[in-house]
């Protein structure tokens, strides 16, 4: 039913208005913060910092969104990011400094000190060779993340484990693999050209922002204009109906989690090239926030409803608020309280508003 409505103009106009409210909220948040702390919030360093932080968080949120559109959830995205990052970092370092670093040392976890001592003296490759190495690293990160996503998909669609439990299990599994590989120590000191991906700028626009924009465009085309994208909505909306209208639910679900994994892989690249290090457990506080931002962005936790534009606006709102908290000086713990309450309140509002609208005979 809703799928049909989605096609009709009426639904599209309502989605449009929902996104309009997000724009209004964003403008309000932005103005309030600008008025409260004009010198700090509107300073170029703060704005640029936000522009660097939005993409990596945004990619994770998009990964979560794809899973939630299909009616599931992917709790393992942070662990996937860590695992893919660690393997990519090992590949990157061992390709860049083939003679001076041996892999066994890397795996023993003494990489960090070793690199800090000798890293400065090491000669990193240049030109085409460096470019190829970076390309390989990116492929490895995205590939590993894709494999992790694929495993999630197989567990959920073929073995039929509920998405929460399957991804809870793989979350722990991937985290464990990363721990066994690194023994918990960070890997740092990547070659300079690689860091350009995460911290470089093209005139004043940060490179990660460009990558994020590209991914947003590709993802919205994928979700709205391709067969698979449309099937994800259909399966999320009503899986039995989707099955009877000839969709292969299992294939769709596997690919959904594959896409979610791939997006987490892109997030990996952005994160490790910005922070110049990779460590088990980095970004674990993002998990709650990604769920929050996806629901804030108008995606239904039951699946089937929501669009990329809403989530992207949600990301901008959340990051503005977050940077506002930073400026005001809230502690991390208190921020968690606010994220938690926002998650609960937004879901309550999402539940209540349609009921009130029904009562007043408005069409939703």
């Amino acid at each position: 039913m809703r799928l049909k409505k989605l096609l009709s103009k009426k639904k599209i106009s309502i989605t449009y208005s929902k996104n309009m409210t997000f724009v209004v909220v964003l403008v309000v948040v932005f103005t309030v913060l600008s008025i409260l702390r004009p010198t700090k919030f509107l300073s170029s360093t703060n704005l640029q910092q936000m522009a660097f932080q939005i993409p990596e968080f945004g990619m994770l949120a998009l990964a979560m969104m794809v899973a939630m559109l299909s009616g599931g959830i992917d709790l393992s995205i942070i662990s996937i990011t860590n695992l893919a990052g660690i393997i990519a970092a090992i590949v990157l370092l061992s390709l860049s400094y083939p003679e001076s670093l041996d892999l066994s040392m890397l795996l023993k976890g003494i990489m960090a000190e070793e690199a800090a001592v000798t890293g400065l003296a090491l000669q990193e490759p240049t030109g085409l060779k460096m470019f190829m190495i970076i390309l390989v690293t990116i492929c490895v990160a995205v590939g590993i993340a894709g494999i992790c996503g694929l495993l999630n998909g197989v567990l959920i669609s073929i073995i039929r484990i509920p998405p929460i439990l399957a991804t809870l299990g793989t979350m722990k599994l991937y985290e464990g693999i990363s721990l066994v590989i690194t023994k918990g120590s960070p890997i740092t000191n990547f070659p300079k050209p690689f860091l350009y991906i995460g911290s470089g700028t093209v005139s004043i626009i940060p490179v990660p922002m460009l990558i994020f924009t590209a991914c947003v465009i590709v993802l919205s085309i994928f979700l709205n204009r391709t067969r698979l994208g449309f099937s994800i909505y259909a399966v999320g909306e009503n899986s039995i109906a989707a099955l009877f209208s000839g969709l292969k639910n299992r294939k769709v679900l596997i690919r959904t989690y594959l896409v979610s994994g791939l997006l987490a892989g892109v997030a990996t690249i952005l994160i490790i090239s910005r922070v110049d290090s990779v460590k088990v457990g980095y970004g674990s506080s993002f998990l709650l926030q990604t769920v929050l931002v996806v629901i804030l962005g108008g995606v239904s936790y039951l699946g089937g409803i929501g669009n990329v534009a809403g989530v992207v606006l949600g990301i901008f709102i959340l990051r503005s608020i977050s940077s506002g908290f930073n400026i005001i000086g809230f502690s991390n713990h208190f921020r968690n309280v606010i994220w938690g309450s926002m998650l609960v309140f937004v879901t309550i509002i999402n539940y209540i508003v349609p009921k009130i609208a029904d009562r007043f005979k408005y069409k939703t």
Binding site: I73, I161, G169, T170, V180, L288, N336, T347
Partner: protein
């Protein structure tokens, strides 16, 4: 009767535990000893109490991931208060479980009246409870825990001294866990409330039509896990003897692993208390044996993750086998 026992999940789990312990014992001789077994019984009682709570929630068709936060907060607040004023162990249990029930009611309220999925509610409330406590407290560690807390974990219902002079015995902590388990089993088996939990887990709409009081059941379920988290937190203090606001937060996945290993299903209506306790036992067998076989603790998350995946996988596979064509289409 014999056939149903042989076919039950608990039987398989029990056989698995026996087989596993024989294998481990052949590698490390100190595994299958009375000392080690009673030690496992004692230390697993905290997780056992929590797992019973988590199991009840899963039985009702939900999932609660806020219980570690509830346990941590009620533990911290209780010890903080009792550290200042004189009290006793009974008061400690009563206070902690009261706090737990309070937090549980908040969850129940949100789950029942706003129909928010339990995962999202408890994800939110978990960070609210824990974050609120952390932003209020100034001194995180409490080392000055009153003495009567420790006394409890040292007591034995019965005990003996072995040839090496080590006291082995059936701890009061294990006794507490078993009492709670039996109490819960009686509630589930012989009260309308208990049958209602199975009913809403099986099919909420059908249970509603059949006249079960859904509000009452859901409030009971979520306050019960709060209550048990409170009890478990005091058991924990009495064993560990100091309090840190992050202490119990890591238990979430282990407890959930134990519950699903015990045969409970996330869709609700399936599983038994016995299965849950065996699941807890299995998790502790694995953890304990990893230590005895000298495997580094880095491997812990991998093993726990695999246990969750494999056990939920087997459950899911069995449930598809057991059902007819009509329901296989679901999901």
């Amino acid at each position: 009767m014999r056939k149903t026992i042989l076919r039950s999940h608990e039987f398989y789990l029990f056989v698995l535990m026996v087989a596993y312990s024989i294998i481990v014992h052949s590698i490390s001789r100190s595994f299958l000893t009375a000392e080690n077994m009673f030690d496992i019984l004692k230390s697993s009682s905290i997780m056992g109490v929590m797992a019973i709570g988590a199991f009840i929630v899963m039985l009702s068709g939900g999932i609660d991931i806020s219980f570690p936060a509830i346990a941590t907060v009620s533990m911290y607040v209780t010890v903080r208060i009792l550290e200042r004023f004189s009290g006793n162990l009974f008061l400690a249990f009563a206070m902690a479980s009261m706090f737990g029930i309070m937090f549980g009611c908040v969850n129940a309220l949100l789950v029942h009246y706003f129909k928010i999925p339990t995962l999202i509610v408890t994800l939110g409330t978990s960070s609210i409870f824990h974050g609120a406590m952390l932003s209020i407290v100034k001194i995180p560690h409490i080392y000055t825990v009153p003495g009567y807390f420790f006394e409890f974990s040292k007591k034995y219902i019965f005990s003996w001294v072995n040839s090496e002079g080590v006291t082995i015995g059936f701890s009061t902590m294990t006794f507490t866990m078993l009492t709670i388990a039996i109490m819960t089993w009686l509630i589930l088996q012989y009260t309308v409330l208990g049958r209602g939990i199975y009913a809403i887990g099986g099919n909420l709409e059908a249970a509603k039509r059949a006249g079960f009081n859904i509000v009452k059941i859901q409030f009971f379920v979520y306050s019960y896990i709060g209550f048990l988290s409170g009890i478990a937190s005091i058991l924990y203090v009495s064993l560990v003897r100091h309090v840190h606001p992050f202490n119990l937060m890591g238990m979430l996945l282990d407890v959930i692993a134990a519950v699903v290993l015990g045969g409970a299903s996330l869709t609700g209506g399936l599983g038994t208390i016995l299965g849950t306790l065996l699941g807890v036992g299995m998790i502790y067998f694995i953890k304990n044996s990893l230590v005895l076989m000298k495997i580094p603790s880095y491997w812990d998350p991998i093993v726990i993750g695999l246990v969750i995946i494999v056990s939920t996988g087997i459950n899911a596979y069995r449930s598809t086998l057991g059902k007819t064509g009509a329901t296989i289409i679901e999901a």
